[in-house]
C-alpha cells in the first residue's frame, strides 16, 4: 500500500499564523501510524501567496489534499480518512 505523505508548511507565513504549534505532528504521526505515513516539515509550499490567502494559513498537505487553517485534529482526521479508518 502506498504511504500517505504529510507535509507541514514551515514557511514564515504558516509558522507565524500557527504551524509553530503543528510541529508536534512531526513526532506524533510516526508514533501513531508507524510507517504507513510519512511526515515532514517543509519550506514554504507557496499556498499563502495565491490571492493573498495568508489568513487561511497554516497549510498542511496530506497527499494532494490541501488543509487550510490546519490544526493537529484536522490533519489527523485527514490521515485517518486516507487510510480508510
Amino acid at each position: 500500500m502506498a504511504k500517505v505523505n504529510v507535509k507541514v508548511c514551515l514557511g514564515t507565513t504558516c509558522f507565524v499564523m500557527g504551524s509553530s504549534n503543528l510541529q508536534e505532528l512531526l513526532e506524533l504521526v510516526p508514533r501513531k501510524y508507524g510507517d504507513q505515513v510519512e511526515v515532514a516539515g517543509s519550506p514554504c509550499l507557496g499556498l499563502c501567496s495565491i490571492d493573498w490567502e495568508f489568513s487561511k494559513a497554516p497549510y498542511v498537505k496530506v497527499d494532494d489534499e490541501v488543509i487550510k487553517e490546519a490544526t493537529v485534529e484536522k490533519v489527523l482526521a485527514a490521515i485517518d480518512s486516507k487510510l480508510g479508518k
Binding site: 514551515l10 514557511g11 514564515t12 507565513t13 509558522f15 507565524v16 499564523m17 500557527g18 509553530s20 504549534n21 510541529q23 508536534e24 519550506p43 514554504c44 501567496s49 495568508f54 489568513s55 487553517e69 490544526t71
Partner: protein, 490 residues
Amino acid sequence: MAINTPNKQTSHLKREILVRLIRAYLGENFEEDVRLIPYKMRPQGSEVPYRCCIHKERAILRDRVIASLGFDIEEAEDSELLSNLAKKALDRKEPEQHPLTLLQTACNECVPARIHVTDLCQGCVARPCESACRFGAIKVENGKSRIDHSKCKNCGLCAQVCPYQAITKIIVPCENACPVGAIAKDENGITHIDNEKCISCGKCVTACPFGAVHKKSQVLDILKNIKTGKKVIAMLAPSIMGQLPCTPKQLKQAILKLGFADVVEVAIGADITSANESAEFKERVIEGGAPFMTTSCCAAYNELVEKHIPEIKQYRSTTGTPAYYTAELMKKNNPDALTVFFSPCVAKRREAMQNPNIDFVISFEELGAWFVALNVQVAECEESEYEVESSAQARYYAVTGGVAQAVNAMLDEKDQAKPHIINGLDKTAIKDLKKFAKNGSCELGNLIEVMACPGGCLGGSNTINSYRQAVKQLTEYVNSSKDVKEVVKD
C-alpha cells in the same frame, strides 16, 4: 504551572489584523484601507464563525484594530471611523503609557465569578454544604441546595464538602489568572484593569478565551520612523532566538530587510548584567552577610516589587536589566538613533516607558506579522554576523534558571550562590516572596531568580513558537556559543 502558550484562535485573529494593518501602512491608501479591515475579514455573505451576526463580528474586529493602532479601546468613541483613528495614530508623538486595553464588548459574555449549584445536587440528608457554610448562605429548598448570593462570600467551602461534587466555582479566566487582583468585573459586569495594581505580566492576555485583552501596539510608530528615514536599531531579546524557522544570523538579515539600520542581541547587555550581578551578590551576600538577593531582570517582577512588595526592594539586586545596558550602549554610540526592544512579553513595554534609552517595543508576534505582510521568507535570507559576540550564558537568560546559572558562572567556586528559582509569578509565589521579605530570610537559597512567566521569557505571552521547540532551537544556539569567561574580561 502551565506555560503561557498563546491561544491559537485568538492569536490567529490578532496576527491577521496586524498583517493587514502593516500592509495598509505600506500601501497607497492607509486610512481607507484601515477602515476596511473588518469588512475584508468578514466580507458580505461570509460565514460568522464566532458571534451572533456579521455586524457584531465586524464591530469587535474594529475594536481589535483600535488596539493594533496603539490606542485604548475603552477610550475610543464608538462613532469614530477607523480611518480617523488611523490618521491620529500617525500624528501621535509618543505611545500610550499603559500597555494593555480591554475589549469590553467581548467581556460582557462572561458570567461573573460565583459559586453555583448544578443539577447534580441530590438534596441529600447529610447536607454538609449547609453546615460548612459560615455565612448561612446555602439552604436546601424544594429538595435542592440554593445559594443566597447576597450572603455568599465565594469561599468555596460548600463545593469542597459536597459528596456529589455538585457545587462548582464559576471563574472569570482573566480574574483567575491575575496574580495581583488587578482585573475584575464591576457591578455592571464590565471588566476593568486597575493600572495602579497591574504589573503587566500578560497572564490575562493568555487566559482570556475571547482574546479580549489587547496590547496597544507600537508597530505603526516604528514603521513611521523607519519610513521618515530615522536610524532605527533593533535590540533582540535572547528569547527571540528559536522563535522563527531560521538561524539567528538569518534572522538578523530578515530584520535588516524591514528597514532597521542595525540589529544587536540584548545578550550583550546580559553579559554586563551577569558581571555586575555576580559582583553585587559577592559583595552583599558572601561578604556583607545579607540573607539573600533577588534578581532584577524580569520587568513584571520589578513592577510587582514597586506596586505590591516594596519591603523586598532592599533584597533586590540593583543591577540593570540586559535591555537597560544594551540600550545604554546603543544610545551612547548612536545618539541620533531610535532603539526598539524586541520583546517576548507585555511587561517590557512598561520598562521601556520608564527608560529614556528605549524608544519603542515590538513583540515577537508583531515582528512575525511584519514578515508576513512583506512576504519575507526568513529561511531563505542570507546569514549576517552579529558584530558583538555574546556568551552562551547570556543567550540562555531566556530560560528559567538561566540568570542564576550565569551569575554562578562568574563566581569563584567558594562564592557560589545557592539559587532558588521562582518559575512563574502566581499568588503562591507572591505569598512566598512576601514571607522572605518579612522574615528577612529564605531557607531555600540565597539567590532568588524570579521569572514572571513559567519557563522563563520563552514562555512569554507574545511568543510565536511552541515552548518545547523554542527551547530546542535556542539550546542549539547556546551550545554553539562561547563561555562567559571567554567573552567577559574584567
